[in-house]
């Protein structure tokens, strides 16, 4: 067998194969023999029909089977001869020809794993923020809990003061136009509200807004103008002046529960205030630990990617870019982007998706290589344990988790997804 393999750019290799006439004839003879044994031809006992009759009756099937076997055997032989080549996929054979001299030739394109040298991946330098759960943070969390259990009383004998809670109805406009008209779908939840509770402190809502409510009594109306901050989440209306027509429908004073063992018992039965503080601290420390793990993972993967660059297979990149773009559109729409806004940003979004896709694929090839170099192994028992755990968490039968498994991406996994594993 004559095998020619030419490596090409972007993880492709061109394979040209010539199977000599004798090998073709031998394969054909084997297949014909099998057909003679199995074929049922009217007028003949099974396996007793003459060769010429079988050849005529099943000419097309025999020919197809010969080609299929020759191609299959040739691929196996070619991969054996080029063991160092990591083939990820084989495209459909082309130029399949039965030559006049009886030989058989065809070409095929192979998608191969990228070739790269692993950078020095031990001892990657990463930075993580120094964090600790201080008493102050625990107290802030306790205060939030107290607010959830606060009592509210109507204020009827005075005007609004700092620290009160106001219940308001409002509509907002920019240059006389409804806010949603200027800011789009995303701005809709902010454009008008009824029975909206707002604490009268400087940090609530927009800068200057709550100052405008001080001194108002229930049923009083007022126009309050504010400038939307430069870091406002809806880009299109950042820095613009918005006018709010407000009606105060109620005023309330807040009484927080005393911070004592009785309160702690209300939150966690049988626990003292000190116990509750310890529980809050543990919970916060656990969350910080998880965040730090995620930062470390993203840090090492970003660093690893910076250290080496190589082409990834084009077909993989196309498919992964589409997946990333789909995920970004989904995220955007969940965050309130309209279809129009998605369309407007399509170009940029696709560029960003391609960058993410390449990084993601690179990461996976690098990690696979590192796992091989370090001889990391996953035992069968580990896999079974993982699947059982996944099933338990999802409260689904183990079989269902198995069935979902093929849909999970492996070579296209985004680095941040490792954090949850």
């Amino acid at each position: 067998m004559n095998i020619r393999l030419e490596k090409k750019e972007k993880c492709l290799a061109a394979l040209s194969i010539e199977v000599p006439a004798e090998a073709v004839a031998s394969e054909r003879a084997k297949i014909l023999k099998a057909f003679i044994r199995q074929a049922r031809i009217p007028g003949f006992r099974p396996g007793k029909a003459p060769r010429a009759v079988i050849e005529k009756a099943h000419a097309e099937d025999i020919s197809q089977e010969v080609e299929s076997r020759l191609i299959q055997n040739s691929f196996q032989e070619a991969l054996k001869e080029n063991e160092d080549l990591k083939v990820l996929n084989v495209k459909n054979p082309e130029n399949v020809t039965h030559q006049a001299d009886g030989s058989f030739t065809f070409d095929a394109e192979l998608i191969t794993s990228p070739e790269f040298s692993l950078p020095d991946y031990k001892g990657l330098d990463i930075e993580v923020p120094k964090v600790e759960v201080t008493d102050e943070i625990v107290d802030e969390n306790l205060d939030q809990l107290r607010q959830r259990f606060a009592d509210y009383e109507d204020i009827e004998d005075r005007a609004a003061e700092k620290g009160d809670l106001a219940v308001i109805d409002y509509t907002a406009t920019i240059d006389g136009k409804p806010l949603e008209e200027v800011g789009g779908e995303q701005a809709k939840p902010l454009a008008s509200n009824e029975g909206y509770w707002i604490r009268l402190d400087e940090e609530a809502f927009f800068p200057g807004f709550t100052d405008g409510l001080i001194g108002l009594k229930p049923n009083e109306e007022k126009k309050i103008s504010v400038t939307l901050p430069d870091d406002f989440p809806i880009e299109t209306i950042r820095g613009m002046d918005a006018d709010f027509s407000v009606t105060v429908t109620g005023l309330k004073s807040e009484t927080l529960p005393d911070l004592d063992d009785e309160f702690a018992n209300k939150i966690e039965q049988g626990k003292s205030l000190d116990d509750l503080k310890a529980l809050i601290r543990d919970d916060l420390e656990m969350r910080q630990k998880r965040q730090l793990e995620e930062i470390k993972i993203n840090g090492v993967l970003a660093k690893l990617n910076e250290l080496v660059d190589f082409d990834v297979p084009e077909d993989f990149l196309t498919s992964e870019t589409q997946s990333q773009a789909d995920a970004m559109v989904k995220e955007g729409m969940e965050a309130g982007m309209s279809e129009e806004q998605v369309k407007e940003r399509q170009g940029g979004l696709f560029e960003e998706a391609e960058v993410r896709a390449k990084n993601s694929l690179k990461t996976n090839f690098l990690l696979t290589e590192i796992a091989e170099t370090e001889e990391l192994k996953v035992e069968n028992s580990d896999v079974l344990q993982r699947v059982t755990m996944m099933a338990k968490q999802a409260k689904k039968p183990v079989e269902e988790v198995y069935e979902r498994a093929p849909k999970e991406r492996t070579t296209q996994q985004h680095p941040s997804e490792y954090a949850s594993q």
Partner: protein, 42 residues
């Protein structure tokens, strides 16, 4: 289960776990520097 294994449905889970192990390896071998978190002004 054997049928599922034959169908290669376990290979994705196995591959994910292997890549996770490689990530753990990188993290456990990294030089981690603790820095003060950026303040709001910076």
């Amino acid at each position: 289960m054997k049928e599922l294994q034959k169908n290669g449905q376990l290979s994705n889970i196995r591959q994910n776990m292997l890549l996770s192990k490689a990530v753990d390896f990188l993290v456990s071998n990294a030089n981690v520097d603790e820095v003060e978190p950026p303040t709001e002004e910076s």
